[in-house]
């Protein structure tokens, strides 16, 4: 990710030096994202603002407007408002596919370049560019790691919310451990919340006398899980695998914490990737249309530094 960012910024810089005239080209880009309602979306807002600053500094004619919306309906309104201001491109992370497919289609019909991030639209033909993390891969990478390091063991799972993203992650995980000695004792929904994950983990600890590992798919929930294990003073749990790349968890990995040796990436900074690529489309004449799926990179002690943003809220 970082490499790609740096590379792109470099490329953009180089090209702007070669084609000095392109610098004054006026381009308006609107970024419509959900308001920071939990850690990950907080990270999206942070990275969108960070990328906007970098991009505007490198392209004097570029104007990026970021608009956050608390729910799908207000995002649809925000899209209309942004469009009437006259934009050349829209980068959007839609609240949900069903509600926002038509409003985004309306934007597209005005001839505006549309980049969709993370949550796919019901009709993918609308988008020019799709940038997303890899949900099945996030589950698979975690499952593979468990399978390869533990061979056999009893695992409890804390899922997020019953939505497509969660199903995909769960399926990736189940496929990865299928036929191995890894046995899933229980699965419950933790709503991607620290407090709920804490409660569920406490109950798991009551229910099962021996647990070898916890897969909780998201770092916010991992915080609650670790606290519950700590308070119960249980020593049987060898591994807690979260995901998404929250800075506190990445730091634990970097510091070589025994219980959290790895993390699986699903970075909120993907919004920055989407913005970089969209800008490149206007200034650099590089082909960007298509799908850009980021890896669910396995973060270990060796590469953790690359994914650590100490200033990010997530």
């Amino acid at each position: 990710m970082r490499k790609l960012l740096v590379g792109l910024v470099g490329a953009v810089l180089a090209s702007s030096m070669t084609f000095a005239y392109a610098q004054d080209k006026k381009v308006n880009i609107a970024v419509s994202i959900p308001a920071a309602d939990h850690g990950w979306t907080g990270g999206v807002v942070y990275h969108a603002e960070r990328a906007a600053k970098i991009l505007e500094a490198n392209h004097p004619g570029l104007k990026i407007t970021i608009k956050t919306s608390p729910d799908g309906a207000s995002q649809a309104n925000a899209l209309e408002d942004l469009t009437t201001q006259g934009i050349d491109a829209l980068v959007t992370l839609p609240h949900n596919s069903d509600e926002l497919t038509d409003p985004i289609r309306a934007v597209k019909e005005k001839g505006i370049f549309v980049t969709v991030v993370d949550r796919a639209l019901s009709d993918p033909s609308i988008q020019d560019l799709y940038v997303a993390g890899n949900n099945p891969e996030l589950g698979r990478v975690a499952g593979e790691y468990l399978k390869n390091t533990m061979k056999t063991g009893d695992v409890v799972v804390i899922r997020g919310l019953p939505i497509v993203i969660d199903e995909e992650r769960q399926k990736g995980f189940d496929d990865a451990i299928a036929g191995s000695g890894i046995k899933v004792l229980d699965k419950q929904f933790g709503n991607w919340s620290r407090d709920d994950a804490f409660k569920i983990m406490q109950d798991y600890l009551t229910k099962f006398p021996k647990i070898d590992a916890v897969w909780c798919q998201d770092d916010d929930m991992a915080v609650g899980v670790l606290e519950a294990i700590d308070q119960a003073k249980r020593t049987d749990i060898k591994l807690v695998i979260g995901g998404a790349g929250m800075k506190d968890m990445i730091k634990r990995v970097a510091d070589g914490d025994a219980m959290t040796p790895i993390n699986v990436l699903y970075p909120p900074s993907m919004v920055a990737t989407a913005m970089e690529l969209t800008v490149a489309n206007f200034y650099d004449q590089v082909p960007v249309r298509g799908k850009y799926i980021l890896d669910a990179t396995l973060v270990t002690k060796d590469n953790a530094k690359e994914f650590y943003f100490p200033d990010s809220p997530f």
Binding site: A35, R159, P162, S193, Q202, D203, K207, P313, F314
Partner: protein
């Protein structure tokens, strides 16, 4: 039910007690039934560790719901408590991180005072807008719910607000995990808040005024009760209860996040109603409320401990159990 609403009626006192007893006992019977269900589902349910976990976890809602009992008995409603908890937690942690006072103990004590102050102020804000502005509490607290939540998100920059000092964190943690005479500290706090709440509601003139205002505002006004002052006061009490809950909440995970306190308002109101307090006001049952908060937490606990229910259907089963508990209670009330 209706005779408890007539404050001046002393003739039906005997009947009133008989009536009170049955309704007051109902939530505890439902709780006993849940214990039975839990024991059947998983023998570990009755282990001391599990029961103490659940009791401790229920402390936030139980303490907040004691405050909600006052608000609801006086005919009001406070939807902002969840967001208020997040805001108070956020401000408390930011204050602790500022390290404005030398010495961790003094700092923690000051932090607790700050939390209670912020809670009381937030409650006062609700109470003042409702009484002076003469606006429905539902609308006012819906508004402040959004305000408190977004100010918290803004303070947290969309992420979380965490306690920075590890030393202070370790010192504060026992407030949630610590055990005194065999019971976790938060459980003692529930008992203390319950005793205090029961004393205020049942033994003081303010408590009688709360019930009078909730029964019939006009009659209360004609009897010379300062209706607005009483109502505003219930919201301040609610704010203080939220702050006390936060003082137990913060040491658990050492952080306030944007999801802190999410939907706590609904849980608190549910606990109050399960406990036998009437949503329309005029009746308040502190111990029933606390029992209601236990029941909510136990239902969740039983769901995780059981192997019968698919994780997708847990919400449906929880909803069913709550409705059945209410039906049992209603049936008991009708048998006079």
């Amino acid at each position: 039910m209706s005779d408890t609403k007539t404050i001046t009626d002393t003739r039906g006192l005997g009947r009133k007690f008989a009536d009170l007893d049955k309704t007051a006992v109902a939530p505890f019977l439902a709780l006993a039934a849940l214990f039975l269900l839990g024991a059947l589902v998983n023998p570990n349910f009755l282990s001391i560790d599990n029961l103490l976990n659940v009791l401790t976890r229920s402390s936030f809602i139980a303490i907040i719901a004691v405050g909600a009992t006052f608000v609801i008995s006086a005919g009001g409603l406070d939807l902002s408590v969840g967001s208020m908890a997040a805001l108070v937690a956020g401000i408390m942690i930011l204050f602790l991180n500022s390290a404005a006072i030398d010495g961790d103990t003094a700092m923690l004590a000051a932090g607790i005072v700050v939390a209670i102050g912020v809670g009381a102020l937030a409650g006062l804000l609700n109470g003042a807008i409702i009484t002076i502005g003469k606006i429905e509490p539902f609308i006012v607290t819906l508004g402040t719910m959004a305000i408190f939540r977004s100010v918290t998100v803004w303070l947290a920059d969309g992420g979380s607000i965490a306690m920075k000092s590890i030393a202070m964190r370790n010192m504060f943690r026992p407030v949630y995990t610590g055990v005194f005479l065999g019971l976790p500290f938060p459980v003692w706090l529930i008992i203390a808040v319950g005793l205090l709440g029961a004393f205020i509601l049942y033994k003081t003139s303010f408590g009688r005024h709360v019930i009078a205002v909730g029964s019939n505002e006009d009659v209360a006004r004609y009897s010379g009760i300062h209706v607005n002052r009483v109502r505003a006061m219930t919201y301040i009490l609610q704010g203080i209860c939220v702050a006390i809950a936060v003082v137990v909440y913060v040491p658990r995970l050492g952080a306030a996040t944007t999801t802190t306190g999410m939907l706590w308002e609904l849980q608190a109101i549910t606990a109050v109603v399960i406990g036998g307090t009437a949503l329309r006001g005029g009746v308040g049952r502190i111990w029933g409320t606390i029992c209601g908060a236990f029941m909510l937490e136990i239902v969740g606990n039983i769901m995780v401990l059981s192997n019968i229910v698919s994780e997708y259907l847990i919400g449906a089963v929880q909803g069913t159990i709550i409705i059945i508990a209410m039906l049992v209670q209603r049936t008991l009330q009708k048998k006079k």
